[in-house]
Amino acid sequence: MLAAVRAASIGDLFAEIPEEVRRREPLALPAGLSEAEVVAELRRLAGKDVPATQLVSFLGAGVYDHYVPAAVDAVVSRGEFLTAYTPYQPERSQGVLQTIFEFQTAVCELTGMDVSNASMYDGSTALAEASILAGVQTRRGQVVLSAGVHPEYRQVLATESAGYGPRPRTVGVRTGAATDLDALAAAVGDDTAAVVVQQPNFFGALEDLPAVAELAHAAGALFIVVADPVSLGVLEAPGRLGADIVVGEGQALGNAMNFGGPGVGYMAVTTKLMRRIPGRLVGETVDLEGRRGYVLTLQTREQHIRREKATSNICSNHALNALATLVYLSWLGKDGLPQLGLHCARKAAYLRERLLALPGVAAFTAGTVVREFAVRLPRPAADVVEALVPQGYLAGVAVSRFAGLFAGLVPGGEDAGDAALDDVLLLAVTEKRTRAEIDAFVAALGDLLASGEVGDE
């Protein structure tokens, strides 16, 4: 082959690289390993972890431990899907194009929206992109967010808005953990591009979507809802309650937790916003003999055509995770998704009732809950979480880890500062938790709180 390319040595091929930037010594990396050795090394590292899936876990806050049926992996492991690039040649990519079209349909059906894209990276970046879209559409400079939006999503939106897009302004939640609608009304004005709430919100409280929609629209702002797709099995579709953009995280639908990624973001909009949506869109068409087929479409929105005038820089999305989500939703089907939603809601209601019966435990999230809720403990939640690990429980998320992001935004008074959240524990219940596990967990927590061994009052 060297002769065919008129080179005397491999080194000749790199002769055009200037001497001063050519590397002489080898990279300081470990030597290569056989497959057997690398697998052993991976097992050693993975063996240092104790995964949530091997414990009794009540962790949620954006990533959920739902069961993933075997059919999902059977489909996403197929090399024709796994090892394909973005479908730039539609005639040889009808498989992935049709699955994206079917995914777009599923997202539209779940959210009650008109148009879905092919997926985003995750829920947080989907929200940041939705905010940019709203800024461009309304030509306004501010986005008003509820503190009930996941704190990391709020952080990501704030980071990205440093360059482009509306600047965030956050309003608090009231007692019971739903958004303070009076504060929201006061914050919305002539420069508000969009109003954002999450459903159910970070604390599991359910927001009054029609009221927020009215407030946003009266000010000429768009209404963005961050929606949990599993809950949409039982909760009204935001698209029927006035949402202009619905975004969220689809990890819970058929994806492993993966330490937080990859999951899959989604974005759905009204027809009016179709030409501003970021990312890939698949549309139906016909071939020159009239057969139905699918292509990437409306590409003049996109970076590879429009460059600096594109609606976003997004190129790669999370197609394989979107496929997992589609397989999962098809496995659950029209009846299975609502049944899953009810199942989780019943177990969550049961757990909350049992917890609130413990001395010193009080509600933080009020009203209806569907999978997740927060309680106040008579001890610092972080200490409680740590104390229950040796017994095999992941008790939930101690909200104090986000304390700075809730300063002045939760009931308890600004005087309390960060301490206002020290005792708040956020718990999620999926179908994987059994009644026996829930009962044993409540008993263990009760014993711990009664022992007085953890934290101070």
């Binding site: 790199f14 909760l235 029209k334 299975g336």
Partner: protein, 516 residues
């Protein structure tokens, strides 16, 4: 074959006579396959009180109409998706010389690695004491990427290359602001990927285009002019660039930009050419992103997920997104959020960890020597294919050595009325994925070919042969080439119609015209 296409049967490709396209019913959507009452799902025992729905969820919040998800048995579900997979094409199917995309083999060991329960089963908010293995893996990968790039500190958080670009630009912005400056212009060559100018705008900057010279590198005179215009925040460059050429003036480019107060961003889309051979940090770059789904063999999944970790020079470390992974004196790894100069958070949690496990597996498998061989072979293979098609295509930079890819022009076929698009479509009939077409924009009728290092000489010979057969057909049977593909489940698709009348979701019969 339909007579209306004007095909000459003697010139139809080898297996064309045997084409048997699946009837439309076999390509039904999963919604069309749905039948009331069917399903695959099962749920564990409830065990807790079965509170009536009306008590559980008030009517004002309750869903009024279920999502019309498919009702389908599990075997039919598997058949549906298996059928669709057969209509798709991946690296597992055959050669995939899609320029700038580095479609190398994705080792299956990567997949097993990412599925280990000690990785896939981790929740991001578990106590750090329970995730030390994952953090150790991330920490090692960070150090390896720093070594490969010749820079100092890595963040694994960006979810894709374009996301890495945005993160890098926000770092550039923060670095200037820390010095009390707010320059607006980011220099971008006319050969740049489309993500570059789009990211520049999202980062709050303005793109300042710079031309390429006759040898395909940055035109230094024009660069000096652009720099003299002032207000320079930085430059984004791919090296080797999208013409597959290493910029011979890279150190001079770096000097000019640095002297103007700008920072240099390396788009790592083409890093597969220079692993262990030349490091961006040594070239003068300050920030680098890698596309793990290109360079480090993580599968592209039909459009993602990827990962776009970035590595920065020491002076930029304070601006990295949070959290930053650190190791305590006791050897324990932990996430540090308390970083006063950070740009903030760029995505939830810690990045696409499952993708990063695959990249770790690849680098650990190959080691320093293996990575160098990757680039050597990738460059050899690209040069081999370039020589193989030299008499067919115009090679505007054919007097230079290409790196991991080369750009040819289909203009010699224009006299027969054949365009790059037609070549691409006809290559599909020969069972290979076509090159990237019409990019970079500065080459007329561009075909951008990146064979990658994992193609055997036999596969490269077949690829070259396919080019030759298509070129022959362009002369002898141009109508055939223009009507290609003819052997696939669908013929050429009407993209204009798709854009003019967008149908972006299933149209359910009960909704009538116009959808739900």
């Amino acid at each position: 074959m339909s007579d209306s296409t004007g095909l000459r049967p003697d010139l139809v490709s080898r297996d064309d006579a045997a084409v048997c396209r699946p009837p439309a019913a076999d390509r039904a959507t999963i919604y069309e396959r749905s039948r009331p009452g069917r399903g695959s799902w099962s749920l564990p025992e409830l065990g807790v009180p079965e509170v009536p729905v009306a008590e559980l969820i008030p009517e004002s919040l309750r869903r009024t109409r279920p999502a019309r998800l498919p009702e389908i048995s599990e075997v039919d579900l598997l058949r549906h998706f298996t059928g669709l997979s057969a209509l798709n094409y991946g690296v597992d199917s055959g050669s995939y010389p899609l320029g700038s995309c580095t479609m190398k083999y994705n080792p299956r060991v990567n997949e097993g690695a990412a599925r280990l329960e000690g990785f896939a089963g981790l929740h991001p908010y578990q106590p750090e004491s329970l995730v030390q293995g994952a953090l150790e893996l991330m920490h090692e990968l960070e150090r390896w990427l720093a070594e490969i790039s010749g820079l100092h500190a890595t963040t694994l958080q960006p979810a894709a290359g374009a996301h890495g670009e945005l993160t890098g630009l926000l770092i550039i912005r923060a670095a200037h602001q820390a010095e009390g400056r707010a320059p607006k212009r980011i220099i971008i060559p006319d050969t740049a990927h489309g993500t570059n100018p789009a990211s520049v705008v999202m980062g709050g900057f303005v793109p300042a285009p710079v031309r390429s010279d006759a040898r395909g590198g940055v035109d230094l005179d024009h660069l000096r002019e652009v720099v003299a215009g002032g207000d320079i925040a930085g430059l984004m460059l791919t090296n080797p660039n999208t013409l597959g050429l290493f910029d011979e003036h890279i150190t001079e480019i770096a000097r000019l930009v640095h002297e103007a107060g700008g920072l240099l961003y390396y788009d790592g889309a083409n890093a597969n050419a220079v692993l262990g051979i030349s490091r961006p940090g040594d070239m003068g770059f300050d920030i680098v992103h890698f596309n793990t789904h290109k360079t480090f063999s993580t599968p592209h999944g039909g459009g993602g997920p990827g990962a776009g970790p970035i590595v920065v020079r020491d002076a930029l470390v304070p601006f990295l997104p949070v959290p930053v992974l650190e190791q305590g004196e006791d050897g324990r790894f932990f996430f540090q959020y308390d970083r006063p100069h950070t740009i903030g958070k760029v995505r939830s949690f810690y990045g696409n960890f499952g993708v990063l496990v695959r990249a770790w597996t690849y680098i650990r498998s190959l080691g320093a020597e293996g990575l160098r061989q990757v680039s050597e072979t990738a460059v050899l293979n690209a040069n081999y294919v370039m020589e193989g098609v030299r008499d067919l295509l115009d090679l505007p930079y054919g007097d230079r050595r290409c790196m991991h890819e080369f750009v040819g022009s289909a203009t010699p076929l224009k006299k027969d009325g054949i365009r790059a698009l037609d070549v691409a479509k006809r290559l599909l009939d020969y069972g290979v994925h076509p090159p990237t077409t019409y990019f970079p924009l500065i080459v007329d009728e561009a075909l951008m070919v990146e064979p990658t290092e994992t193609e055997s000489k036999d596969a490269l010979d077949r690829l070259v042969d396919a080019f030759h057969r298509v070129a022959q057909e362009a002369r002898d049977a141009p109508d055939l080439v223009r009507s290609a593909p003819v052997t696939l489940p669908v013929r050429r698709l009407d993209e204009a119609r798709a854009a003019r009348h967008p149908v972006l979701r299933e149209q359910f019969p009960e909704d009538g015209e116009g959808g739900a």
